[in-house]
């Protein structure tokens, strides 16, 4: 169903079920976010996508990533109050992730160069201080990959994310989806000729039958076959080679 509403006074249209964030971005309105990814369910953790939404006489600040569009609402994406709250949120995030380039850049756009809070949780010298606990890694692992190798742990100010007990996790298949969605590039993946190292484990890589390029880890392939519907043979060649052979077949059909 088509829904009409306004963003910063401009009329916009969207399909019901879409989020205010997605629609606003499609129309070119800028709303920052660090925990949002199209592949997973909106989570509302980073609080950067705060906008003001007026529905009838009620007006409130809320996150736009998980707010579904409604007929007649008025969305304000960047009032001084909103910008002030975003700057404060960025100050909080920056304090614990001072090494994360994307956070630093975003913070700068909101006038935050140095956080007034001291870095306390992340310890200098013990790896990069750049996890912002957005949980995208764990969410993609559970929702999309369906491997459940990563999860949040602890609660409150003791919250963390990673493998259980920070040990090498048995269900991990080394697919590196977590690394690809991490907004601060904190997850380290080391690929050598035949092996991939991630989350403290090593995985053998499947190499393309025709060109020899790495396709995926063997564990990833087995996991994909188990989930179906494609057979193991499908994963013998890399995407580029598949495309090549497919276009070859199309060419034959065409002639």
């Amino acid at each position: 169903m088509t829904v009409k509403f306004t963003i910063n006074g401009e009329p916009v249209e969207a399909q019901s079920g879409q989020s205010v964030l997605d629609v606003a971005r499609r129309y070119g309105f800028e709303i920052p976010s660090l925990c949002h990814h199209e592949a997973v369910t909106p989570y509302g953790a980073c609080r950067l996508c705060l906008v003001e939404i007026a529905k009838g006489r009620r007006r409130k600040l809320t996150t736009s990533c998980n707010y579904e569009v409604l007929e007649g609402i008025e969305v304000i994406t960047g009032s001084p109050a909103i910008r002030q709250h975003r700057a404060m949120v960025l100050e909080l995030i920056l304090a614990e992730a001072p090494d994360a380039e994307p956070v630093r850049e975003l913070a700068k756009r909101y006038g935050v160069v140095i956080s007034r809070f001291k870095t306390t949780r992340a310890v200098a010298g013990e790896g990069p201080r750049d996890c912002i606990l957005c949980g995208l890694c764990a969410r993609v692992c559970t929702e999309v990959v369906k491997a459940d190798a990563l999860a949040f742990n602890g609660r409150g100010d003791k919250r963390g994310v990673g493998t259980p007990y920070s040990e090498a996790s048995a269900p991990c298949i080394g697919c590196a989806s977590c690394a690809s969605v991490c907004p601060t590039n904190r997850i380290v993946v080391k690929d050598t000729k035949d092996m991939r190292e991630i989350w403290g484990r090593e995985f053998a890589l499947v190499r393309c039958d025709s060109c020899g390029a790495p396709v995926m880890t063997e564990a990833h392939r087995d996991h994909a076959v188990k989930l179906g519907p494609l057979p193991a043979d499908y994963y013998k060649t890399c995407t580029a080679c598949k495309r090549k052979s497919l276009s070859g077949r199309f060419a034959k059909v065409g002639s």
Binding site: H85, M88, F117, L133, G156
Partner: protein, 615 residues
């Protein structure tokens, strides 16, 4: 009698019970709520049973272990019906004398009577005691009359008659009655229950759930616990009426695992309600079916938040989600779910039994009915008090609570649990209801009421609650997880004398973002203690910042203990000092080595001559 098949059978069953109970039989109700239990109530009850047996009085006297009577300060409480004589602080060894003199001969034993610390008067009857006199105990009152493990006790008092009436009225009229009564959610939000029920009822679905929130996690709050422990059937009856109105066949009670007695009594009550046919299929012959399961919480404060609670029942991690789509539309398992707390459910049978017109006459226009508060802290009569909405803080704290102990001065009262605000003496005449407290930057919450005296430091109070909440935050959203942690750090800086005016400024800026930006009510309300103390007790913050002084003498980094000339040289503090840093001989003024003093305050506590000064 087993299953009760229709309302008519219920009426006659109750009449039978009442007929057997009236007459000359006396009842000795021994409060066996958690508070009295801790002071040995079970042993007192057993001693009564044994003594009555021994004296051959079993046929004339019923010993009834009941739920909490509310006056925990004076436990174990023994209330003798029909005379309504109340004995306080009863020990098992007192029982033979009580039976011999009071029960058999009607003599009053003065030593067990309540003596008012304010007026010095002794009172015989429960209703004469100021603590009880000013209360309106619609919900709690039945606790003293019921053995919670016996459904017949509840039925004899008219229990489940409201259910029978509701079944006859039909869902539309019941809903109308609850809406007209304007029953507001006692769990904290104060949202009108009728409106909630209606939305849930009108949501398109084939399945609906009813939940009772008994995850009472506020420090110092125990009203829901006492209702569940003392009168579980009232809650169950409320839930059945709600289920009938909304169209639900399945309900849950989400109760803290730390409340074993509540779980036990609830389990027994559910079994008995099933046996009698109030739960299960075809309730009272109407074809309507409903049953309740118990879900025990694992000790996370945040699970009292409705969406986190539902996630927890689903077996997921108890974390809240955004409520853009309300739980009455998509809650537990994605189905419309109506959640109310223990006290709200317990109000429902009353509303149906006596009607909305009666109910709205109690309390204020915007908040009808009564509210149970757990009155704790620096107040003479700690315990559970149930008062009509609209009573002033002064009446609750001074008339019922008996004021501040040891001649102390009232400083502040915190309402609404850890996320409530602290109100100063200037607000003592505030008529308490949902709206008035919100307007003052505090809240009703579930009804915690912590009284503080002049020896309480408000910076320390803010620090305490922030510490609690940063630990109990689930950690999902940045503003709550990082924000509360930082607020705690900043307030700690002030408490330790490291704060500046910039620190106060940053606290205020950050608090505004935590309030505006947090995902659930835990975060949005968590700033109330720090904000309200900054609003009403700013001078105290400034003393910490500018003068590096804690006026209440609490913040250890800023205080010094000194022995004054009033010292008689009695050696008591010297002996008790855990660090051995007090010097001085007998009959000679003692001196504290302040460089080694750990500021534990024991010397001050033990000094009989008021010779320890804290500055």
């Amino acid at each position: 009698m087993g299953r009760i098949r229709n309302p008519k059978e219920l009426h006659s069953y109750r009449e039978g019970l009442v007929a057997r109970r009236t007459g000359s039989k006396k009842v000795i109700a021994v409060c066996c709520g958690t508070g009295c239990n801790a002071s040995g109530a079970r042993k007192v009850a057993q001693a009564f049973v044994d003594e009555i047996q021994k004296q051959g009085l079993a046929k004339e006297i019923d010993i009834r272990p009941t739920g909490c009577h509310g006056f925990c300060e004076r436990g174990t409480l023994v209330l003798m019906h029909p005379e309504e004589t109340l004995y306080t602080r009863v020990k098992p060894e007192d029982v033979p004398e009580i039976v011999e003199k009071t029960v058999k001969k009607g003599e009053i034993l003065e030593k067990h009577l309540y003596d008012d610390p304010v007026s010095g008067a002794k009172h015989i009857k429960e209703q004469e005691i100021p603590f009880y006199k000013h209360q309106e105990r619609l919900i709690l009152g039945k606790n003293g009359l019921i053995d919670p493990t016996k459904i017949d006790d509840y039925i004899a008092l008219g229990g489940y008659e409201a259910l029978a009436k509701a079944l006859e009225m039909g869902p539309d009229r019941v809903l109308d009655e609850v809406k007209r009564a304007n029953v507001r959610g006692r769990g904290g939000g104060g949202f009108p229950a009728g409106k909630k029920w209606e939305t849930c009822r009108n949501a398109t679905a084939t399945k609906r759930y009813i939940i009772c929130n008994a995850d009472e996690g506020d420090p110092g709050a125990f009203m829901d616990r006492s209702v569940l422990e003392g009168n579980p059937h009232a809650v169950i009856e409320g839930m059945i009426i709600g289920a009938f109105t909304i169209g639900s066949d399945e309900g849950y009670v989400y109760v803290r695992h730390e409340y074993p007695l509540a779980v036990k009594h609830l389990t027994v009550a559910l079994e008995q309600a099933r046996e009698k046919g109030f739960l299960g299929k075809d309730i009272l012959g109407t074809g309507f079916g409903f049953d309740v399961k118990i879900n025990r919480g694992g000790g996370a404060f945040v699970c009292g938040e409705s969406t986190a609670l539902m996630a927890s029942i689903e077996g997921k991690v108890g974390e809240p989600r955004a409520k853009h789509i309300h739980t009455v539309v998509a809650g537990l398992n994605g189905k419309p779910t109506n959640l109310n707390n223990v006290e709200t459910w317990a109000n429902i049978p009353l509303v149906i039994e006596k009607g909305a017109d009666w109910y709205t006459k109690i309390g204020t226009k915007g908040s009808p009915g009564t509210k149970i508060f757990s009155l704790v802290g620096k107040v003479n009569n700690t315990g559970l008090v149930e008062v009509a909405m609209g009573m002033t803080l002064r009446q609750i704290i001074f008339d019922i609570g008996g004021g501040i102990p040891k001649g102390g001065e009232f400083k502040a009262v915190q309402t609404g649990g850890p996320s409530g605000g602290c109100l100063p003496a200037a607000k003592l005449d505030l008529a308490v209801d949902f709206d008035s407290l919100w307007e003052e930057g505090s809240m009703m919450g579930s009804g915690g009421m912590i009284v503080m005296d002049d020896k309480t430091c408000m910076v320390d109070v803010a620090k305490y609650f922030l510490n609690f909440l940063k630990f109990e935050s689930c950690g999902k959203c940045t503003t709550c997880r990082e924000g509360l942690r930082r607020l705690h750090e900043l307030v700690t800086e002030i408490a330790e004398g490291r704060g500046t005016l910039d620190t106060i400024q940053l606290i205020e800026e950050l608090a505004a973002t935590v309030e505006a930006g947090s995902l659930c009510a835990l975060g949005t309300t968590a700033v109330n203690p720090v904000r309200s103390t900054l609003k009403f007790f700013r001078d105290e913050y400034l003393a910490h910042v500018n003068e590096k002084r804690c006026p209440a003498g609490v913040c250890k980094a800023l205080i010094t203990y000194e022995i004054t000339d009033a010292c008689t040289g009695c050696l008591v503090c010297k002996k008790r000092c855990p660090e051995g840093v007090i010097k001085g001989d007998k009959k000679e003024k003692h001196v504290i080595d302040t460089t080694k003093c750990i500021k534990c305050g024991i010397c001050n506590d033990v000094c009989k001559f008021d010779a320890v000064r804290v500055y």
